[in-house]
């Protein structure tokens, strides 16, 4: 402390311009070498994939030479993207199906999570036990098992379902997938919502109570806004988890992005199917992550200093 004040008093009155010392040369430390090697490896892998895609689509460059000045007169670029011509649109259709599936189940799941959270936080033991069991079941078992349980499991109750007129619903793979995903995400969203509501300090309830606000207004105007801000990040993660998890519906014959990819691969044995799918999933998840980060920054700007 004394040292720094001495420095400032000494330097303040003097009018000598202080030259900044040249930044130290960055030496090739071990970690720097390793880091550059690894980055080179990633770049090589990236170029390898691009090269692979070019070879598979018969991309070729033809340089036309001449003797006089510009030397290279023209560059012919030719490609025969047979795979993309045949399956490109199908992959995009699959992409849309994936978005539909995830969007629909997230929306219905969000609606379902409201009563479930209320039950979970209720003082009535039976309600909270039911909600707890529901959440535990859907969070504790693989999504694949849940999808099978609903899609194939409905087959055990064919007659009963016919009697109550619901068989048409369970006969369709799409309905079963949406149902399974809705149940799954509603369990996760219940947990997110409960966690964030409990995260709001008790003093907020008490202060609002002291002002004389009714309970529903306290919840709606004071607790929920604060809870939702806390839950922004987990909600974003849940959306990403759902997008990634939705790939398994291809197993029950739904032609989502993964389903179209698997079909294209099984017909052509062309590995670029999976490469394109990987690129599309990565773009989807990464875009969402970035949008979500922006959104979070925007919504929490009053909390920053």
């Amino acid at each position: 402390m004394t040292n720094s004040t001495a420095e400032t008093t000494a330097s303040a009155p003097s009018e000598v311009t202080i030259e900044k010392p040249a930044p130290p040369k960055r030496r090739w430390t071990k970690s720097r070498i390793v880091g550059h090697l690894l980055m080179a490896l990633w770049c090589a892998a990236g170029f390898g994939i691009i090269y692979f895609l070019m070879v598979r689509n018969n991309v070729s460059f033809n340089l036309n030479y001449s003797d006089s000045f510009p030397w290279i007169t023209s560059v012919d670029l030719s490609a025969e993207p047979r795979f993309l011509e045949r399956y490109g649109m199908k992959l995009i259709d699959g992409f849309i199906i994936t978005l539909k599936l995830v969007g629909l189940s997230l929306l219905i799941g969000a609606l379902m999570s409201l009563p479930l959270t209320a039950m979970r936080m209720s003082k009535i033991k039976v309600f909270s036990a039911i909600s707890y069991a529901y959440v535990y079941f859907f969070r504790g078992t693989p999504m694949l098992a849940q999808v099978f349980l609903i899609y194939y499991g409905a087959g055990s109750f064919t007659d009963e379902l016919r009697d109550i007129g619901l068989w048409w619903f369970f006969r369709d793979a799409w309905n079963c997938a949406v149902l399974a995903f809705t149940f799954n995400t509603s369990a996760y969203q219940t947990e997110i919502l409960r966690g964030s509501i409990e995260n709001v300090p008790k003093g907020q309830w008490e202060a609002a109570d002291a002002v004389g606000l009714p309970r529903w207004l306290i919840f709606w105007k004071i607790i929920l806004p604060q809870a939702l801000i806390v839950s922004l990040r987990p909600y974003g993660n849940e959306i990403i988890l759902m997008i990634k998890g939705s790939a398994i519906v291809s197993i029950i014959t739904i032609l989502d992005l993964m389903g179209e990819t698997r079909r294209a691969f099984s017909r052509t044995y062309d590995f670029q199917a999976y490469v394109w799918a990987a690129i599309m999933y990565l773009v989807m998840v990464e875009t969402l992550r970035r949008i979500w980060n922006r959104l979070e920054n925007r919504l929490t700007r009053h909390l920053k200093r």
Partner: protein, 236 residues
């Protein structure tokens, strides 16, 4: 009721023994992926907290890749892509036929996914260890490796255990995906049993129940581990 018991029995008529071997495979696969995932995750976390930008960037590419890809796609990329890649390399040497085992592919894919999540868990645990710990170790004259092994790692385990526990539960659930590439795990045997006996609901409920039991056992294990790591705190 009796028929159900016969179907679930351990014997020639029942599926009990098959499903039991499925459980063993699921648990083995998860346990085999765990150490690899933990080691890669720790290395990634060290790279991410390094002062060298290129090292950080390399680790970030890894996590972006394997956290962004669906687990199922990662599995296919490793299984089919690995097959093609190794086949190409080996055909140069002259070996014509080579098959990537589904178990190894599953193990590698699950470790890739696990490690990218584990690196984040380790990274946030690293942030929980104060700078004073490093300075104290330096003052005692410990080398950097000794500091890591004797001072940092024990605290790191304690701080990252809750997050790693969650990741273990996710890993356990993700093993179900290997049934799709033909591994005989719980789901695949349940599927076979469901098809032959025409009792899909029974067998898939059983599969879900088994996963739940595994999750409950894991939770007990994790909480007792957490207690063990907090032994030092209790004396305060």
């Amino acid at each position: 009721m009796n028929e159900i018991l016969v179907m679930l029995s351990f014997g020639p008529d029942g599926w009990g023994d098959q499903i039991a071997t499925g459980v063993v495979l699921t648990v083995t696969l998860a346990l085999a992926s765990l150490p690899l995932g933990l080691v890669i995750g720790l290395i990634l976390a060290l790279a991410k907290k390094s002062s060298e930008p290129s090292l950080r960037a390399a680790a970030d590419v890894y996590t972006t890749l394997f956290r962004g890809l669906p687990e199922l796609l990662t599995l296919f990329l490793v299984y089919y892509g690995g097959q093609i890649l190794i086949q190409q390399v080996l055909s140069m040497v002259g070996i014509v036929h080579f098959e990537v085992s589904a178990f190894v592919a599953g193990m590698v894919a699950l470790s890739l996914v696990f490690s990218s999540y584990a690196s984040e868990a380790f990274l946030s645990a690293f942030r929980g260890i104060s700078q004073g710990q490093y300075e104290g170790a330096h003052a005692l004259g410990l080398s950097r490796f000794q500091t890591l092994r004797l001072i940092i790692l024990p605290q790191l385990i304690r701080l990252s255990l809750p997050a790693l526990g969650n990741l273990w539960l996710i890993l356990l659930k993700d093993t179900s995906l290997v049934s799709i590439i033909g591994m005989n795990d719980i789901i695949r045997y349940s599927n076979m049993a469901a098809r032959t006996t025409k009792e899909p609901f029974l067998f898939f409920s059983l599969a879900c129940l088994i996963y739940l039991v595994l999750a409950v056992i894991s939770s007990f294990g994790i909480s007792s581990l957490e207690k063990w790591t907090k032994k030092g705190d209790a004396q305060k």
